[in-house]
């Protein structure tokens, strides 16, 4: 570690020999090996305790999902099952099968729509700047922070009047529209970093707006598409509020169906946990496959909820 530091310091050229000697003799470097070791042990201990606290609810939930009702009352909640069973999963799958397919459908469609729209809006707001584009962007951004409770009643009435209450179209429409502010923000911040001269070059090379978008902007933006896509997919998939008021028995999204299944009079915890696990599976899958891009998305100031 020391030599690493030396290298870096030399590279930066910020230190001369005398100062370096001072640094070497300073407190941080003088710690004896034992002290250093104790420090590291405590450090790792704290980190591992934090890991345990993070993991326990998940661990316990997964274990319970593999237990029979009898097993659940016999074993401790954090112990593995005596006889692992898939019964809860089968039960949950039968209950959630249809809603899960529903959710996959509208989530995918709404994700694609809101990403495409966000990409166009981001492009227009950065590369075709016009008077008022900053204000317009601000008005878009406010949409991210909108508490949906404050528009639920008008939304509810509108969806009913459109005759799409309790259908897939309601979910696609609502999620596509309310996804636009977030996707626009993500695409805009990415397109901001594309140099203006590239756009100008394309213009003088004879490309029109559409050609610039299709041949230059789209090929340059696989990353924001992944980031916005993952972000939209997870937040639409996880939505509960819209599902609660805009759907009923006809078109149940998975989130709504899960709460119906779990919210019976006598909670069967093994089934509930198996249900939550099934419900989380698509998002976890995407997270595993595209996780590193999502990190960048989260970094971009993304907000959940």
């Amino acid at each position: 570690m020391n030599s690493h530091k030396v290298n870096q310091i030399e590279k930066l050229g910020v230190v001369d020999d005398i100062k370096w000697e001072k640094l070497r003799k300073s407190k941080g470097f003088k710690l004896s090996k034992v002290k250093r070791l104790i420090k590291r042990v405590i450090l790792y201990a704290v980190l591992i305790v934090a890991v345990l606290i993070t993991i326990i609810p998940l661990w316990s939930g997964i274990m319970s999902a593999f237990k029979t009702q009898a097993d659940l009352s016999l074993t401790s909640p954090i112990a593995p099952p005596l006889i692992p069973t898939l019964e809860p999963f089968i039960y949950a799958w039968l209950e959630l099968q249809r809603p899960l397919i529903n959710s996959v459908l509208f989530t995918t469609i709404a994700t694609v729509i809101s990403c495409l729209l966000g990409s166009v809006c981001g492009f227009v707001l950065t590369k075709l700047k016009f008077k008022g584009s900053k204000t317009l962007f601000m008005l878009f951004t406010i949409g991210i922070f909108l508490p949906y409770q404050s528009i639920l009643v008008p939304l509810f009435i509108t969806i009913r009047n459109l005759g799409i209450y309790d259908t897939m179209w309601a979910m696609i429409l609502v999620h596509s529209v309310y996804g636009i502010p977030m996707t626009t923000l993500l695409f805009r911040s990415y397109y901001d970093s594309i140099p203006e001269s590239l756009i100008n070059a394309a213009k003088t090379d004879g490309a029109g707006v559409m050609a610039i978008y299709r041949r230059l902007i789209i090929p340059l933006s696989p990353l924001p598409f992944v980031v916005a896509g993952v972000f939209q997919f997870t937040s639409i998939w996880n939505d509960y509020l819209f599902a609660l008021i805009l759907t009923g028995a006809n078109f149940e999204p998975a989130s709504f169906a899960l709460s119906n299944m779990a919210g019976g009079t006598e909670t069967a915890w093994n089934n509930t946990m198996a249900g939550t696990f099934l419900y989380s599976l698509p998002v976890l899958l995407i997270f595993v496959l595209l996780g590193k891009y999502l990190m960048q998305g989260l970094m971009a100031g993304a907000i959940k909820g």
């Binding site: 980190l47 075709l128 700047k129 508490p147 409770q149 009643v153 509020l241 989380s280």
Partner: protein
């Protein structure tokens, strides 16, 4: 160059459209397919947002000034009556207080734990990536999922009470979410669990963007360990702290699904009913649409008071 950039106006083209006397050449220029499609999509988005956000807000404010009850739309205009009713309604004040208490517990805890984890992870930890992923895991899960997990943790014969027993701390056992006195704190704890990994990530990213030379200069000047953080690093991540604060603040004002499920619609009683929960219950359980709209408008107002200065500060810099 900056000026050049600002100058490429499409609005000027829109202005053309308004001019009646335009030559054929110009007409061809504007309605050429290639510009039209992009603009049509953009304008459609603007219209959709204008309708689904801004028109709905206005509509909602209008509803809040009527006496609309039930599913049939018949109502009279009653002015601010619902707002007067609201300020005299103990449920509203309980919800607002719940919101406040929740914020006061949830926001500082998340920031402190997140920052703490970020600093720990910044100590050249082996397998840092693994730790980071694990800490971030809860944030990746849906609120519905974590709500059920924590219900399982919090119930009388749930995981927490079991673990307390296991360590001989049985006297600490509590009815975590069915005791109205502590339910709100249990809810906050669970949400801190879910959010601190994300906050950690924000801070970690910020710490990593501090130029290495700054840290080295500080080390040469004799700052090390704790001092290095309090004097050099933490002051440099002010912006991220601010961002984290706003994110948490907005969430704590909007939070719905997690609490709705965890404490069964804000129970016991109104113990964990924060404003969004109360609004929803008043509207869709009791069908007092007008009255709930009044509360919703109030919530919107509170959020805008926070968000508009934030956006102003963030984007004015650019």
């Amino acid at each position: 160059m900056e000026q050049v950039r600002n100058d490429i106006d499409i609005i000027e083209d829109f202005k053309f459209e308004e001019k009646r006397k335009i030559s054929k050449e110009i007409r061809k220029n504007i309605f050429s397919r290639d510009k039209l499609i992009i603009r049509l999509i953009f304008i459609t988005c603007c219209i959709l947002l204008a309708y689904f956000i801004y028109y709905f807000i206005v509509w909602n404010i209008f509803v809040s000034m009527t006496d609309w009850v039930g599913l049939i739309q018949t109502y009279d205009f009653v002015g601010l009556e619902n707002y007067f009713r609201m300020v005299n309604d103990p449920i509203f004040w309980i919800s607002l207080t719940n919101n406040l208490v929740f914020m006061l517990v949830f926001i500082p805890s998340s920031i402190i734990i997140g920052l703490f984890l970020a600093i720990l992870l910044d100590q050249k930890i082996r397998k840092e990536g693994v730790f980071r992923t694990i800490y971030l895991l809860p944030y990746a899960l849906s609120f519905i999922v974590t709500a059920y997990l924590w219900q399982w943790m919090f119930i009388e014969d749930g995981v927490i009470n079991f673990i307390l027993d296991m360590f001989g701390l049985g006297f600490l056992k509590m009815s975590w979410i069915s005791d109205p006195n502590i339910a709100l704190f249990s809810v906050s704890f669970a949400l801190v669990w879910q959010f601190s990994g994300y906050i950690m990530l924000i801070f970690l990213a910020a710490i990593r963007t501090i130029p290495k030379s700054h840290i080295m200069a500080a080390q040469i000047d004799g700052a090390s360990g704790f001092k290095l953080y309090t004097r050099v690093i933490i002051p440099q991540i002010k912006t991220s702290t601010f961002t984290a604060f706003v994110i948490l603040m907005i969430f704590s004002l909007k939070a719905f699904d997690f609490i709705w499920i965890l404490t069964d619609e804000g129970g016991p009683g109104w113990a964990t009913a924060i404003l969004p929960i109360t609004i929803f219950k008043v509207a869709f359980n009791s069908n007092y649409f007008a009255y709930s709209s009044a509360m919703a408008t109030t919530l919107l107002l509170i959020i805008m008071v926070i968000i508009i200065p934030y956006l102003y500060i963030t984007y004015r810099k650019r």
